[in-house]
């Protein structure tokens, strides 16, 4: 097996890792605060379409109806718009689940349903067509990781021509872990997900923290979606998220809601995504249809949840409406 293929596969795996990790982290913040968020896929979808629009809008010249900020601010603003719009839609989930105490699963399903239609609607407004934007949209200049990109035997390909967002995702574990485990805010957020009554008995209001958790999930999932359309595929296409929101959810569960372990799960599932694309002809793998490889994240997660390989344990209060205290 030529190692160049492996290098290319690793590169693709890094891209998918970024998508899965960012979205999974979003889910982590939400669920750690006690709000189950199965709307990640929908939040990503909104990120893809609005991120694409933001990139066009901020890059193109004022004559073309844009802001004319050029490079690299156009794509950066595109990513920011995607993240912001993800947060906006997540705000609906927060309003429904926290303020109106709608069942978290019900609201998440609705978010996913609404997002598909909303994306088409927005696309029609933004691009004049419902299912895609024009290809070849501007993106951030890529970079090579020093040392790693010089690896021999074609392995260096994995670490060349990377989007800067990939680096951001790789480094994200540090601030996330710090915020969750080393700050007062993180302790309070996690306590909302484990025992909101205890949180409240200490005079900390649960609802605002949960709002923050859910809005963060929308920001990260939106950023992840925008990364996909702005930095990976250079245009928006309907259905381009390909269920990656659900794969992120699977990675989150497999990681036992830990930001560090989530890196491992996202890397594993990211690599599983890359295999059919670059390693389909490799020995052993060529015996399996590519569709079976695409199933692996879901199969692995089912096995993990069913408790066949150690038990995964979600935050104790996740998914339960909190009745104590007011809605605000």
């Amino acid at each position: 097996m030529p190692l160049t293929d492996l290098g290319a596969a690793l590169g693709i795996a890094l891209t998918y890792f970024t998508i899965i990790y960012l979205t999974g982290l979003g889910g982590l913040f939400s669920e750690r605060s006690g709000i189950v968020n199965i709307g990640l896929e929908g939040l990503m979808i909104i990120g893809t379409v609005t991120g694409s629009w933001g990139t066009f809008f901020f890059t193109s010249s004022p004559e073309a109806g844009g802001m004319g900020w050029g490079m690299p601010w156009g794509p950066i603003m595109g990513l920011a718009v995607g993240a912001g719009c993800g947060a906006l839609l997540a705000g609906v989930h927060a309003l429904a689940t926290i303020t109106f105490r709608v069942d978290h699963i019900v609201s998440g399903v609705v978010i996913n349903l609404v997002a598909v239609g909303l994306a088409r609607f927005l696309s029609q407004i933004f691009f004049g067509q419902a299912t895609q934007s024009d290809p070849g949209q501007p993106h951030l200049s890529t970079l090579d990781l020093p040392l790693l990109s010089d690896l021999p035997l074609g392995l260096g390909r994995a670490f060349s021509n990377l989007s800067p967002v990939v680096l951001v995702a790789l480094l994200m574990v540090v601030p996330t872990t710090f915020a969750l485990y080393r700050t007062r805010w993180g302790l309070r957020l996690r306590s909302c997900g484990e025992n909101p009554d205890a949180t409240r008995s200490l005079g900390v209001r649960v609802a605002p923290l949960r709002y923050q958790g859910v809005l963060l999930s929308g920001t990260l999932a939106g950023l992840s979606g925008a990364f996909l359309s702005v930095e990976v595929q250079y245009n928006w296409r309907e259905g381009q998220t390909l269920g990656l929101g659900f794969i992120s959810l699977a990675a989150l569960i497999l990681s036992n809601w830990s930001p560090i372990r989530l890196m491992g799960a996202a890397a594993l599932f990211g690599f599983a995504q890359a295999i059919p694309l670059r390693l389909a002809d490799a020995p052993v793998i060529n015996l399996l249809p590519p569709q079976f490889i695409r199933m692996t994240p879901f199969v692995v997660t089912i096995i993990a949840i069913a408790g066949f390989v150690g038990k995964v344990r979600p935050p104790a209060a996740a998914g339960k409406a909190y009745e104590g205290g007011g809605a605000t």
């Binding site: 909303l118 079976f292 879901f298 997660t301 949840i305 104590g324 007011g326």
Partner: protein, 407 residues
């Protein structure tokens, strides 16, 4: 049956029953009003008149061949909403109808292509049976895992959906891939065409709708199945047990109900119902399994189940309402400047409004019933109010909604 009946509640009075059924209907109307007003604002943004746009949607749905199209759209949604609702009655959430119907399309396609030696009606019956079995197999996994390992059905069904998509993709690329296309012709990925014995006849023709509307006898099956589900839920033992498990699992267990058995049974029935979802597409519309099949019907079914508030009869009307709106996409495209995607937004606002309004209404109703209850409950509620009152003064002095939280 009576012992499990006691578990749930005493038979409600006529007045209470009226309140129980009018409440949901009222909240549905409120939600519809909210959606129409919000949609109206968007329409005005496009410089059109809401009356004209809504009129065009209704006109397209109700006149000419419109009802045929509407009912063809509604048919699979009735099945998928029923599949969702039957699990919901027992407090379980079958997000997996999507995956279940995809797998059922594969098993049904196999039966359609390989069992053509059966005479006409028998062939269709066997195909439907295979569809039910396919859906049941896929639904059995979350059901059994929930009961045996405690794995949450929502997560398992989401994963099963992911597997199902790849499974259908594999099936239509390998064992079920067409063989009949002559060399050199470019055919979209699909299965072979089914023999005529596998197809379900047109029903719309009886009402004068053109056959292109694809309204089929499956609609009758959908209505019959809805009535059966209604009967099952309201009049049969399993229905009582399901509601007992859903509303008070502890009491249900004390009343001698085997919770696990009920949950698995309901998941299997749900899967069987999900099996029918793809049949309109396979047997009435296309006559083969297309590679780019119509997806999302399982998720849309969840929306329709909410709209119908998990009532089998309500679901029929909700599916028709959804069909009217979906059919409206063509109306917008032909008659107005509003893009057809507006309909999806309208449906989205509607469903959001329904879940929120229904939740608020449910709390109001629960609170009122609590107030009406006997002195014992009143004392309890007073104690709760005192507790919440002190808590509210500690952390949230001015909170207008805290009384609602205590309902």
């Amino acid at each position: 049956m009576s012992d499990t009946g006691d578990v749930i509640a005493a038979r409600p009075s006529v007045g209470q029953r009226l309140e129980n059924s009018i409440g949901p209907l009222l909240s549905l109307l409120v939600a519809l009003a909210i959606a129409l007003v919000a949609g109206g604002a968007i329409i005005i943004g496009y410089g059109e008149s809401p009356a004209v746009v809504y009129g065009a949607i209704l006109d397209f749905a109700l006149t000419g061949d419109g009802p045929g199209y509407v009912l063809a759209i509604a048919t699979p949604l009735i099945f998928s909403a029923l599949a969702v609702a039957i699990c919901f009655k027992a407090g379980m959430f079958n997000i997996g109808v999507e995956g279940q119907y995809l797998v059922a399309m594969v098993t049904a396609t196999w039966a359609a292509l390989n069992l053509g030696f059966l005479p006409g009606p028998a062939h269709v019956a066997v195909i439907l049976l295979f569809a039910m079995i396919g859906g049941m197999i896929w639904a059995a996994v979350p059901g059994v895992l929930k009961v045996t390992t405690g794995a949450h059905e929502v997560v398992i069904t989401i994963m099963m959906n992911g597997i199902a998509i790849s499974f259908v993709n594999w099936a239509v690329n390998n064992p079920l891939k067409f063989t009949e296309a002559a060399a050199g012709t470019n055919v979209d990925l699909r299965s072979d065409r089914f023999p005529d014995t596998a197809l379900i006849g047109d029903l719309g023709g009886l009402f004068g709708y053109r056959s292109a509307a694809k309204m089929s006898w499956l609609l009758i099956l959908a209505i019959v199945v809805a009535l059966i589900v209604w009967l099952l839920m309201k009049r049969l033992r399993l229905g009582y047990e399901a509601r007992a498990v859903g509303s008070a699992p502890g009491s249900a267990r004390a009343g001698g109900v085997s919770i696990g058995a009920v949950q698995i049974k309901l998941f299997l029935i749900s899967g069987a119902l999900a099996g029918f979802v793809g049949m309109q597409q396979l047997l009435a519309d296309k006559g083969y399994l297309p590679g780019n099949y119509l997806a999302q019907l399982g998720f849309t079914g969840i929306a329709v189940a909410f709209l119908g508030q998990n009532n089998a009869i309500g679901i029929i009307f909700a599916a028709v309402l959804w069909g009217v709106l979906s059919r409206g996409e063509s109306a917008l495209q032909i008659r107005t400047d509003v893009p057809r995607e507006f309909v999806i937004i309208l449906q989205g606002i509607l469903i959001l409004a329904v879940v929120i309004v229904y939740q608020i209404a449910k709390r109001r109703l629960a609170r009122r019933q609590l107030q009406r209850a006997g002195a014992e409950e009143r004392a309890l509620e007073a104690a709760a109010a005192v507790a919440a009152g002190t808590a509210a003064t500690v952390s949230e002095p001015d909170n207008g909604t805290s009384d609602e939280a205590n309902a």
